[in-house]
């Protein structure tokens, strides 16, 4: 039966004029993803006709790594999230009700992707304005309502506030934790729909729920931070196996390993990195999970291996390793850090 299935599949694939390469031996059939980039229409056709759960993961992943029209994200992401996360019908309710972390969210809005025009503040960035904003921000003691948000924030900043507050209300056991602002901020930026603001927000919110609930990413932020610790431990193991010399240097720095790595997990590599990089990481992450973080970090350490070994001073090593990702993006370029990827600049 199995033999028949594979024989048939092999036959079909050989007849197929798509760009699939087929390698077989007696036991396995390995489908090697096409080297050709999908056109926009191919993406649309695929998303319309193939159920996410039956997709060819390798092919989709390979295509996501390639350069594609950024506007396609607004159909690809919901395609991924729709089947597994119910439409957030209570979103408005969650967004309007105050949450326990309102003040922290409020304070973080202006400190989230603030270099992007999309999130530019309402205020001019003169010293006087920063001063006044800072005063007002700290003085707020009342419930944060629409009027206060209107006074302080630009439209997209307000949308980000509501999204974060909604999640904190929907999942009160986790609430809002710093790092989420970078991920949600990235999602809203990537999935924004200027024709329908609410639709863009919904897509961002649903994808955030997919990441946190379906992919269990929320456990990175819980009180025990068990997931974070276990991911960091795994990374430590990978380094030990693949780059024992670098692993030894890091161990000799007398700092907890988590000190070097926690930021990459809390913010899904979108903290202090260019938007093109964090967007590509997110594209891959939603299919591959945290594996992409491990892959990129291993690559980063491999690329910097000699330089790290040449540093003689422990503080220099610590500083170098602490800043290794943003520094490597600048030094090697984004594409060099993400295997088989094409990046839109």
């Amino acid at each position: 039966m199995i033999f028949n299935y594979y024989s048939k599949l092999k036959q079909l694939l050989q007849q197929d004029n798509h760009d699939l390469d087929l390698a077989t031996n007696d036991q396995f059939i390995r489908i090697i993803p096409s080297e050709k980039k999908w056109e926009d229409d191919q993406w649309k056709e695929y998303v319309q006709n193939v159920d996410f759960q039956y997709m060819d993961r390798h092919e989709v992943l390979s295509q996501l790594k390639k350069n594609f029209d950024p506007s396609l994200r607004s159909i690809i992401y919901p395609w991924i999230a729709n089947k597994t996360v119910p439409p957030p019908i209570d979103y408005k309710l969650f967004a309007q009700n105050p949450c326990a972390q309102d003040n922290i969210i409020f304070r973080d809005i202006e400190r989230t992707h603030s270099h992007l025009q999309f999130y530019k503040s309402k205020r001019k960035s003169s010293k006087k304005h920063v001063q006044r904003a800072s005063q007002q921000l700290d003085s707020i003691k009342s419930i944060i309502d629409e009027k206060i948000l209107n006074d302080f924030f630009s439209l997209n900043q307000r949308r980000l506030f509501y999204l974060l507050r909604a999640y904190a209300n929907q999942d009160p056991s986790i609430g809002y934790v710093q790092g989420m602002n970078y991920i949600m901020g990235l999602l809203l930026f990537l999935l924004d729909d200027s024709n329908s603001l609410f639709s863009g927000e919904m897509k961002a919110y649903q994808m955030f729920l997919f990441i946190n609930i379906k992919m269990n990413w929320s456990q990175t932020y819980n009180k025990s931070m068990k997931k974070l610790k276990s991911m960091v431990q795994h990374l430590q193991f990978l380094l030990q196996q693949n780059l024992p010399d670098i692993y030894k240097i890091i161990c000799n720095l007398d700092q907890p390993f988590i000190f070097f790595m926690d930021q990459y997990f809390f913010g899904l590599m979108s903290y202090k990195t260019p938007i093109e990089f964090s967007a590509k990481i997110l594209d891959i992450f939603i299919i591959q999970g945290e594996q992409i973080i491990f892959d990129v970090l291993l690559r980063v350490f491999t690329l910097n291996r000699n330089e790290i070994k040449q540093l003689s001073d422990k503080d220099e090593q610590t500083q170098f390793i602490k800043d290794i990702l943003p520094m490597s993006i600048e030094k090697f370029g984004i594409q060099a850090l993400i295997p088989n990827s094409e990046i839109i600049i």
């Binding site: 270099h115 005063q135 003085s139 934790v177 931070m225 000190f259 903290y271 220099e316 602490k322």
Partner: protein
């Protein structure tokens, strides 16, 4: 990018609620700027700066921690080996002042080493003050630490934080060095914390809150 010769290497941690200006204080001190495109710190950031205190050079390893309560689980693991602590609150955020004692207690619970610390009330540039100077002074006295009010935005008294902390660190380090020196003298004859001779060490001895 070696910072060259130094006499002592000291780990300093900056603690305080989210948004009180910890990162801005450090950016002013280390990079002489106030960033208006700033970011909320997650986890912990790290900076190095050499501080000149009279004839001595103290190399500061400064750990800038995230202020949100949730991160305490991991930031507490960073307290180990800290020799200096800067507690920061915002002069216009009463809660951040009320929470300072919580931060002090978290240090007392997490480390048996006694540290040199300083209390900093930031955002002195603001008109809408919610914490009076006398209150800050009283709290600092209670825990036997120096107190200073600053503005990272206007670069007011920022250098003073580190100068005062540095003075106290120097006194302690010299005392400790003397003690260690006396002990070592009978064995190898010399004790010097100096990068050039590759004997840089983290001070491990205790000091009362300065």
């Amino acid at each position: 990018m070696s910072l060259g010769y130094y006499d002592w290497l000291v780990k300093v941690i900056v603690l305080g609620d989210s948004g009180v200006g910890k990162t801005n204080i450090l950016t002013q001190f280390c990079d002489s700027k106030f960033s208006q495109n700033y970011t909320a710190t997650i986890g912990v950031d790290f900076k190095i700066k050499i501080l000149n205190v009279q004839d001595k050079k103290i190399k500061l390893q400064i750990w800038d921690t995230a202020g949100q309560e949730r991160f305490r689980n991991i930031t507490q693991t960073y307290y180990k080996g800290a020799y200096g602590i800067i507690f920061v609150y915002s002069l216009i955020d009463r809660n951040s002042f009320n929470n300072v004692e919580g931060w002090i207690k978290s240090i007392l619970e997490s480390t048996t080493d006694e540290v040199c610390s300083i209390l900093v009330g930031n955002k002195l540039d603001s008109q809408d003050r919610r914490v009076q100077t006398a209150e800050g002074e009283k709290l600092a006295q209670k825990y036997n630490m120096p107190f200073i009010e600053t503005s990272a935005l206007e670069n007011k008294n920022i250098q003073d934080i580190f100068d005062r902390l540095g003075q106290n660190l120097k006194i302690r380090l010299e005392n400790e060095g003397q003690k260690v020196s006396n002990n070592i003298h009978t064995q190898s004859g010399q004790f010097k914390l100096n990068q050039e001779v590759n004997q840089t060490e983290q001070p491990t001895s205790s000091c009362n809150s300065c």
